[in-house]
């Protein structure tokens, strides 16, 4: 009975200091939101990154660094330093140890989305997440030189449908003067959503890339333009590609093949195991994401310091009130509960609001995040997050014990000689 009374008194006391209470509550709400946000994004980001590629034994590109290779070939982030020759690719991919290979060619873009030249092998052999293959929402892989298959995000964002025409641009940024506007491409297929950078990619055939650049051999458009139709009659066999993916017959040969590629004397190349490269990427990012989490924790601690300050300041003003309560028979330990429960109340309501804000943010930001290949479902608020909240509330009770204890001591010392 008395406990309810104390809670009622605490509640009314907080209500009486409405403005500061709201600010304190806001502070806790925001820090809890931040903590949950950082924690979820880092877990889901790792999940999304790891889900991008599956079942590929080796990634091969011109010699650079393993993380760089992973980033441009799989995530379409950054650029290759240079290309590799077609003959090197042929030699390696035709080796009996190789089961399948997917060549890719990067360098163009369309309205912010990257263009990737590849072959039918891509649609056959590329896997992601848990060995999932690419599926077509509508249409089929390219057959003609100017056919293109676009990812789900591209279709949604730009509103493309089967049969629509696109102009591709030279380079990563799409502007008027760098566009291959004499050679439009036609959408012949749209892929199902994968939650990977595939969604943001515009796939064309290697021949298509060759056709695009047939009159760009000097690094800029030559004066003698070659029309789209004229290009079809020319030799569109690719001479170079940016990178390729390999699937081997035996996993045991991975190291041997990797070694051989890395030592290939005709051309400097780099072969990486996607698993190891992802591990390295995560080591790099890991530092940043851990730092973010630590910052979020400090923000929360800061809120608690604010809360403590507010309660301790009010303690001075409340000495009179505490003396009155004592004269009415309130015990010192009840005084303790009165003060300690205040921070607990703030924490519980603050956490509740923070979680609510977090869930709302997830729902609202889903379309934006998916564009970056990040998939954060509502279900990402689960047991682990509840544990985090429970820890926050537990800590707040500990913090509340500080003013509680002080009030307890003071009420014993003051007696009735209240210093006004």
């Amino acid at each position: 009975m008395n406990f309810l009374l104390l809670l009622k008194l605490t509640f009314k006391s907080i209500l009486n200091r409405r403005f500061t209470s709201c600010l304190t509550l806001l502070s806790i709400c925001i820090s809890v939101f931040l903590l949950l946000g950082v924690d979820t994004v880092r877990k889901e980001a790792k999940h999304s990154f790891t889900n991008t590629i599956s079942g590929t034994d080796l990634l091969v590109g011109a010699r650079s660094g393993s993380v760089q290779l992973l980033l441009y070939s799989v995530f379409r982030i950054g650029n290759a330093t240079n290309n590799i020759g077609w003959d090197s690719y042929e030699k390696i991919s035709s080796h009996p140890s190789v089961a399948w290979s997917i060549p890719i060619s990067l360098g163009d873009s369309h309205k912010g989305f990257r263009v990737m030249g590849t072959t039918q092998a891509y649609f056959e052999h590329y896997r992601f997440a848990d060995d999932q293959a690419l599926e077509f929402k509508i249409g089929k892989p390219f057959s003609g030189v100017y056919d293109t298959v676009i990812g789900a995000e591209v279709a949604e964002n730009l509103g493309y449908q089967l049969g629509d025409e696109l102009m591709l641009a030279h380079g990563v940024y799409d502007t008027d003067f760098a566009r291959h506007d004499d050679k439009p491409f036609v959408v012949t297929g749209i892929l199902e959503r994968t939650g990977t950078p595939v969604d943001r990619t515009i796939h064309v055939s290697l021949q298509g890339i060759e056709a695009l650049h047939i009159d760009w051999k000097t690094g800029t458009r030559s004066r003698e333009k070659v029309s789209a139709k004229q290009a079809l009659d020319l030799d569109l066999q690719p001479k170079q590609i940016t990178a390729f993916m390999l699937g081997l017959n035996s996993k045991m040969e991975i190291f041997r093949v990797q070694r051989a590629i890395n030592n290939y004397k005709r051309e400097p190349m780099l072969a990486v195991l996607p698993g190891l490269a992802l591990g390295e990427l995560w080591q790099l990012i890991g530092v940043a994401e851990k730092a973010l989490f630590i910052i979020a924790v400090f923000v929360l601690l800061n809120s608690f310091v604010g809360l403590l300050t507010v309660i301790l300041t009010s303690l001075n003003e409340r000495r009179r009130e505490i003396a009155i309560l004592r004269s009415l028979g309130c015990r010192p330990n009840q005084i303790f509960i009165l003060l300690a429960s205040e921070s607990l109340l703030f924490a519980i309501v603050g956490c509740f609001l923070g979680v609510f804000l977090f869930l709302v943010a997830i729902v609202l930001s889903q379309p934006v995040l998916q564009g970056y290949g990040l998939h954060i479902p509502l279900s990402s608020f689960g047991f682990e997050q509840l544990v985090l909240i429970a820890i926050v509330i537990g800590v707040s009770f500990l913090i509340g014990s500080i003013p509680g204890y002080r009030a307890y001591k003071q009420s014993l010392a003051d007696g009735m000689s209240i210093k006004l």
Binding site: N2, L5, L9, K12, S13, L15, N16, R320, E321, I324, L325, R326, S327, L328, G329, C330, R331, P332, G415, M416, S417, L420
Partner: protein, 246 residues
């Protein structure tokens, strides 16, 4: 005096503050009868607040006994003393008696929240605690309901003191201890408040212990005690004590 009916009896009470070398309180004997109205005269600093906190069970004497209603509260544990105080003693202070975030009525009924005994007694007089609060207030000449819905900080000092009195009286505790309740009031209001308080105490059969430096109020009481005569440990100079007598 018949000690058997004594409401309050003090014997050889000694008390000193923790950091002190000397007793601040040394009372060989004090006896108050049921229903008596006692005026204790003392200057601020003469130890009257200390005396009240000892009688109220807030501080524990170093030696001696304090017997209230047959119970030696100096032998009780902290929590039992607190409960005893809640059940049997009502306080009125000089200033800031009320809790700012509670309403007028909530301030009064708060006394019953800490004592089921007083709650029962109050409910025997009125249907609800709120009704009982209103009843007491009307006796103390505070009937204006509009006034009573205001936050307590908007009431005048005189009005606040009457609310405090109602809180001290609700549930009819046996002993009312008033610590300079009129000192913040102006001269006209003082007498008025005193009369209201004492008549209501009589009505509920409570004993009153009224501490003040204002001798002008002495006349309303049955008995008058000089604190520095009561307390042998009065450490002030003879001159200061002389000043008291005048």
């Amino acid at each position: 005096m018949n000690t058997k009916t004594a409401l309050l009896k003090v014997e050889n009470l000694r008390f000193r503050w923790l950091s002190s070398q000397r007793d601040v309180m040394d009372i060989p004997e004090l006896s108050i009868q049921k229903g008596e109205r006692v005026f204790i005269k003392g200057e601020s600093g003469a130890g009257k607040t200390t005396l009240l906190s000892l009688l109220g069970g807030i501080n524990l004497p170093d030696s001696g006994l304090i017997n209230i209603l047959g119970t030696d509260i100096s032998q009780l544990k902290q929590s039992r003393r607190d409960q005893f105080r809640a059940d049997h003693i009502g306080f009125v202070f000089q200033l800031f008696n009320l809790i700012p975030y509670l309403s007028v009525i909530e301030n009064i009924t708060l006394a019953c929240e800490f004592s089921s005994r007083r709650k029962a007694k109050a409910l025997s007089k009125s249907k609800t605690l709120e009704d009982e609060a209103y009843r007491l207030l009307s006796h103390l000449q505070l009937q204006d309901r509009r006034l009573l819905t205001k936050p307590v900080s908007e009431l005048s000092v005189g009005q606040q003191q009457r609310v405090a009195a109602a809180r001290a009286l609700i549930g009819s505790p046996e002993l009312i201890i008033a610590d300079e309740p009129t000192s913040a009031l102006d001269a006209d209001t003082r007498e008025h408040f005193l009369n209201l308080l004492l008549s209501e105490c009589e009505y509920s059969g409570s004993t009153v212990l009224f501490v003040s430096h204002d001798r002008g109020l002495e006349h309303a009481f049955d008995r008058s005690i000089l604190l520095n005569e009561l307390n042998k440990a009065d450490s002030r100079s003879k001159d200061q004590q002389q000043g008291d007598m005048l």
